[in-house]
Symmetry: C2
Subunit: 198 residues, 2 copies
């Protein structure tokens, strides 16, 4: 698999990324990626044994370049649970459009490939953990909407913030990113937040 920091390897990752994130990135073949990277198809297999491992590497590459960790961690700095909720929704909701193409491909491949499925589930777990942190902070503040456990609220919030919902609202319904953030932020507050005491 050659060494980690190979120039060709990086070119392949960037080419795959660009193709997947392109407007019509529905059917990206290994040969497409090779051609876009200016490399032979076999060179791709030289660096990534399977299509699944390539896609997983692309998501890691994108995360590293975009700095997801730092952006999502920022929501942890907020003081109140309410502020945490808003910050996390804004951070993740704002991140989705930047990784949508790659995420889409990974989800699709996950239906048949175990490695891709595991990679996407890891992603989901990270999101869920962010949701959990916000919900737990709300509960600590006594501001979690009644009638639901912390677990249930976490599940529901992670569903609200799913990539599929973003895709449906912005792609199918034609919402702008700004409208999406506003309405989903409001929905999350309605579902999670109890009215202020007193």
């Amino acid at each position: 698999m050659s060494r980690e920091g190979s120039e060709t390897r990086r070119r392949i990752l960037d080419a795959a990324w660009e193709l997947l994130e392109a407007p019509e990135g529905g059917e990206v073949r290994m040969s497409d990626i090779a051609r876009a990277a200016g490399v032979s198809r076999q060179a791709v297999y030289l660096h990534f044994p399977t299509r699944a491992e390539l896609l997983v590497a692309v998501t890691r590459h994108v995360d590293a370049v975009k700095g997801v960790d730092a952006r999502l961690a920022a929501s942890r700095a907020a003081g109140s649970g309410e502020a945490r909720l808003d910050a996390f929704v804004a951070a993740w909701g704002g991140y989705i459009p930047e990784i949508h193409g790659v995420a889409r491909a990974l989800i699709a491949l996950g239906r048949t490939d175990a490695a891709a499925r595991a990679a996407w589930e890891g992603r989901l777990a990270a999101i869920r953990e962010g949701c959990h942190a916000a919900v737990a902070a709300l509960a600590r503040d006594g501001r979690l909407a009644p009638g639901q456990s912390v677990e249930e609220a976490t599940d529901l919030l992670s569903a609200i913030l799913s990539v599929h919902n973003w895709e449906h609202l912005t792609r199918v319904c034609g919402w702008s990113q700004e409208l999406y953030l506003r309405r989903i932020g409001a929905l999350a507050r309605q579902a999670m937040l109890a009215p202020p005491p007193g």
Copy 2:
């Protein structure tokens, strides 16, 4: 394509249905369907020229057997917009688990096949129309939550009621169908319903 009411045709449809709705119905091939129907692979192609047309026929078959139209239309009988909303959420939310496997396959195929995509979009349009009817009734009653147009509310409700959210909450998070209906019903009310006047 043989005549409509052929016995073999029905057997193929039932076999495909059963396979798609099975717990591990992720990878259903034409040969699987043929074997399950007790028929040669070519006999399947004799009745359904492509995999996409077979899947589309299966969804129609399921709809006919389950009587989806009647069940969704029942929500129209409700008097108030509020009752309409509850009835529609219960009707569609209760229908999802019965068609989940077929819907899943149709969505997946739609990523590459135009016919399958069109069929699923038709389905989406029907759901959206049900959402629109409920939201319009709410607006007529002056009970639509402020700060959103009828169109936006319809979009949001159709997103909340998406198959993906059902799949995430019940399959990934392990919610029971009963819990799903209760929490999603509550979420829909929070998002759509203004507090009663006076």
